[in-house]
């Protein structure tokens, strides 16, 4: 009988590159930046790594296929290295691979590294191309990521009778809060602090999403070294150990895209994955027990809906919670304490591990006072890859 991942693996070290428009560095440079940071934190030597996972989404404008770029760049000595890709859940999938490998007993120490070099396309937004197969090219809408996620807003407005003006205000608060948090973070991509008015009056990208409703398109990398609780305790004597409490992934079944029983004002995969993650971590009441979150705020409306899908806010209740500051840094459950995808940035293949990096450091109480969450117990990360009606969601929960 499967018992889940809870407390079976520990994080030995983590590292993160500075995210941003890193015109001066390559994907390989970013990998090294995150890895050096990570292995220093872990306090081990490279030869102790038994296996590695690389997360990369856009191989075409990035490092190419396979995990060879990881092994060659870091000069990993002929160890098993595997590339994984699962849209925006890519990095968390790399992390999951490393965790499961350690939990299985096959390896003592494993590396997960996610990297993405997005700013080599010459245009704004994510790279265009064939991401969803040939038939989708022929019949799917001529869409982009903001247009895909904008599809959450109009059904939300219709289902809950929230006037668009009010919904836009809640969305603006989501972005305002992340800018406030990101401005304090030296590794974040966007560090400006726009006002609510500036956010509301920004140019329209995809109705009703304006410029500030969209996350940064960034270059970046993040890494984690996983080990057994025993090894962690032996290497980190008298220190807090951070354990993995839950790791869940849910993929769309086609119901949302093709079957009518879905209203479009929520994301089914998040809803389903959250239920399993809380069960795996032994969390009964997430709104009470989760101390902080790093969620997939690719767009402000995504974060808003995610609050409900994660059972943090009641259905239809996220607008009020957000406007009341429930998710602000000084609120009850801080969300995106590092700036989130919105301001820390969103190099797709790195984002999941970047979120874990933030939760890990928050749980260890390592941040300066002005951005340290007070006494966190459980931290949750959430990735949502694809579009609201066809996606993959990953959820991880870390705790001491």
């Amino acid at each position: 009988m499967a018992t889940g991942i809870k407390d079976k693996v520990a994080i030995l070290g983590m590292g993160c590159a500075r995210f941003g428009e890193r015109w001066e560095v390559s994907a390989q440079d970013l990998m090294i930046e995150a890895f050096v940071d990570c292995i220093k934190d872990a306090g081990i030597e490279k030869k102790e790594i038994g296996a590695a996972w690389l997360g990369v989404y856009f191989d075409e404008v990035n490092v190419g296929k396979s995990a060879i770029p990881l092994a060659e760049t870091l000069k990993l000595p002929f160890i098993p290295a595997t590339r994984v890709e699962n849209k925006c859940a890519t990095a968390t999938e790399a992390f999951r691979g490393a965790c499961y490998a350690v939990a299985s007993g096959a390896y003592d120490i494993c590396l997960a590294l996610g990297v993405e070099k997005l700013k080599d396309t010459g245009y704004g937004g994510l790279p265009a191309g064939v991401a969803d197969g040939q038939l989708e090219v022929l019949v799917g809408p001529n869409r982009t990521a903001p247009g895909g996620f904008a599809q959450l807003a109009t059904p939300y407005e219709a289902k809950y009778g929230v006037p668009m003006e009010k919904l836009k205000k809640a969305m603006a608060h989501v972005s305002w809060k992340s800018h406030q948090n990101g401005s304090k973070n030296p590794r974040a991509h966007l560090r400006s602090t726009p006002t609510i008015e500036q956010i509301l009056n920004a140019p329209m990208i995809a109705y009703p999403l304006g410029l500030f409703d969209c996350c940064g398109v960034s270059d970046g990398a993040a890494a984690a070294i996983i080990t057994t609780p025993e090894i962690a305790k032996s290497l980190k004597k008298n220190q807090d150990i951070i354990y993995v409490k839950a790791l869940q992934v849910a993929c769309s079944s086609g119901e949302e895209a093709m079957y009518t029983d879905w209203d479009g004002a929520s994301v089914l995969s998040t809803t389903r994955a959250a239920v399993k993650a809380y069960e795996e971590a032994g969390i009964k009441n997430p709104r009470e027990e989760i101390s902080m979150m790093e969620v997939h705020d690719c767009f402000s409306i995504t974060e808003l809906v995610t609050m409900e899908d994660l059972q943090m806010s009641s259905r239809g209740g996220a607008v009020e919670d957000i406007l009341n500051g429930f998710y602000d840094l000084d609120g009850t459950v801080p969300c995106q304490s590092d700036g989130g995808l919105k301001c820390f940035g969103h190099p797709i293949g790195a984002s999941g591990i970047r979120m874990l990096y933030e939760v890990y450091n928050q749980l260890l109480g390592r941040w300066p006072k002005d951005r340290q969450v007070k006494d966190p117990k459980f931290g949750l990360t959430h990735n949502l890859g694809g579009i609201p009606n066809r996606n993959v969601v990953s959820i991880a929960i870390l705790g001491k």
């Binding site: 396309t121 040939q134 109705y207 209203d263 479009g264």
Partner: protein, 485 residues
């Protein structure tokens, strides 16, 4: 009795005010001021002669099930493909069976009437019981040319059969003459024409009377026996002259819609026939004369079945429901007359993979999905394993057409980031009455007028033009149903 069972028309939504063309291009050719009256209908950024023909075809399909159609002929001088049968694409879009006849008629502005005559003769021969004849044109003149002023886009379709005929086909008289008034070579995008005076004096003024007199003589008729006379000729003063010459009562001569739609090319005389049928009474005799490398003259007699024909969105509806195109430059961009910068995003190569396209031909061209025989759930694209989570039946599907179903908007956006010929790119999720949900492009609408729950219909449109390979790709788009005028 062989004749027309039903007719359909299509005039695209956008109308370009001719003064806008003159304001931009009159400096080059001041004489075009004389032609800059009224407006012309222009195909949208996602339309061409083929999509317009399909729309006209759908418009006359209430009288027959797609599976009962036995063939389709397509007349046009602006077909999207030289090799790859255009009529075959229409057959697929209309959801026709594979065992149907199909042919393209092209090369002259008589191609529409020639397709129609051939359809009558195919049915009369007993070879088929019915045939759809579509005609459509979308011609281009160079910037500043008289053709640019005159040409307008439109399509008509006629269901031909030997039952429930609303207008009996009595016969035709044709003239073939290599009269090169307008010429487009194998590689020409734009029309060229010889001097107007020559076209007028040796073309229309000689050939139209010859065709009319030939028809009258062949069927022992007088011009006054006809309650409506239809002929192509966009020279207004010349029409007065021709009316007088042939002894035609101007009140019985069908309007050419030059100020509203433009010179419709192959579709000209048959759009006029459709407009005449909208007002026709049982017993009316109608003469139709097309012009192009000669003339076709056709003779019809309206039957009392016309009273039972269901009211449809005819020429008058289309004339009343156009909207003004705000910018002349959009017309130039949409027709690829001038290069535009759609951004580097648009340069990512979305190559056309023919075998992949062929494998999904029914889904793409006919908007066919599947319906689970076990639980009744319609689904698109066609599935093998039922998407209903409480069913999941494997390989128990039947084909199911979505294009003719009632549907409404479930979500939408107007996307300014997507590379588009007509930004913002509008799309969203569509919920179908009877089941099924599809995320797809919208067309002929603006974001401000949309709301969740708004009804939509479906239109066959250009999905993407693969410029590098000169291949137009098609699919269906949702058209929000606006308030009608």
């Amino acid at each position: 009795m062989v004749g027309i069972r039903s007719y359909g028309t299509y005039i695209p939504r956008y109308r370009l005010i001719r003064k806008k063309i003159f304001n931009a291009m009159g400096w080059l050719n001041p004489a075009t001021v004389a032609l800059s009256r009224g407006e012309k209908a222009i195909a949208g950024s996602d339309e061409d002669s083929l999509t317009m023909a399909v729309s006209a075809g759908i418009n006359c399909m209430e009288e027959i099930k797609e599976g009962d159609l036995e063939g389709v002929y397509f007349g046009s001088t602006t077909m999207p493909f030289k090799e790859r049968q255009n009529a075959g694409l229409i057959a697929a879009a209309l959801g026709m069976n594979e065992n149907v006849r199909s042919a393209d008629f092209s090369g002259s502005l008589r191609s529409g009437t020639s397709a129609l005559i051939s359809a009558f003769e195919a049915v009369a021969s007993g070879g088929v019981n019915n045939m759809l004849a579509c005609v459509s044109d979308c011609r281009l003149g160079k910037m500043g040319s008289p053709q640019e002023m005159n040409f307008g886009d439109a399509a008509a379709a006629f269901l031909v059969g030997d039952q429930d005929v609303i207008a009996e086909y009595k016969g035709a008289f044709s003239i073939t003459e290599d009269f090169g008034d307008h010429i487009r070579g194998m590689n020409s995008k734009f029309d060229r024409q010889w001097e107007d005076r020559w076209i007028r004096d040796l073309g229309y003024e000689k050939l139209i009377p010859k065709a009319v007199e030939g028809l009258l003589k062949k069927y022992q008729m007088q011009i006054n026996d006809f309650s409506k006379v239809i002929y192509s000729c966009h020279y207004i003063p010349e029409r007065k002259k021709l009316n007088a010459k042939l002894g035609m009562d101007p009140g019985k001569v069908q309007d050419i819609m030059l100020d509203k739609v433009g010179d419709m090319g192959s579709a000209q005389s048959l759009m006029m026939l459709a407009a005449a049928l909208e007002e026709a009474k049982a017993g009316d005799k109608i003469m139709v004369v097309s012009f192009g490398s000669g003339c076709d003259a056709l003779y019809f007699e309206v039957t009392d079945k016309i009273n039972q024909l269901k009211k449809k969105k005819g020429v008058s509806w289309h004339l009343a429901n156009g909207i003004e195109l705000d910018k002349y430059a959009k017309y130039l961009a949409w027709r690829y007359i001038i290069p535009i910068d759609k951004g580097l995003r648009s340069e990512e190569d979305l190559t056309t993979r023919w075998s992949s396209m062929a494998r999904s031909n029914k889904a793409i061209m006919g908007f066919f999905g599947s319906r689970c025989v076990k639980c009744g759930t319609p689904q698109f694209p066609p599935q093998r394993i039922c998407v209903n989570p409480s069913c999941g039946a494997i390989d128990e599907m039947e084909p199911y057409r979505f294009s003719d179903k009632e549907a409404k908007i479930a979500s939408f956006t107007g996307d300014n980031l997507a590379a588009s010929m007509n930004p913002p790119q509008i799309y969203g999720n569509i919920l179908f009455k009877g089941g099924g949900k599809v995320m797809m492009d919208f067309t002929d609408c603006d974001v401000a007028s949309l709301s969740v729950g708004m009804p939509v219909s479906f239109s066959f449109r250009i999905k993407y033009f693969d410029e590098r390979r000169d291949i137009t790709r098609y699919f269906w788009k949702a058209v929000p149903v606006m308030e009608e005028k």
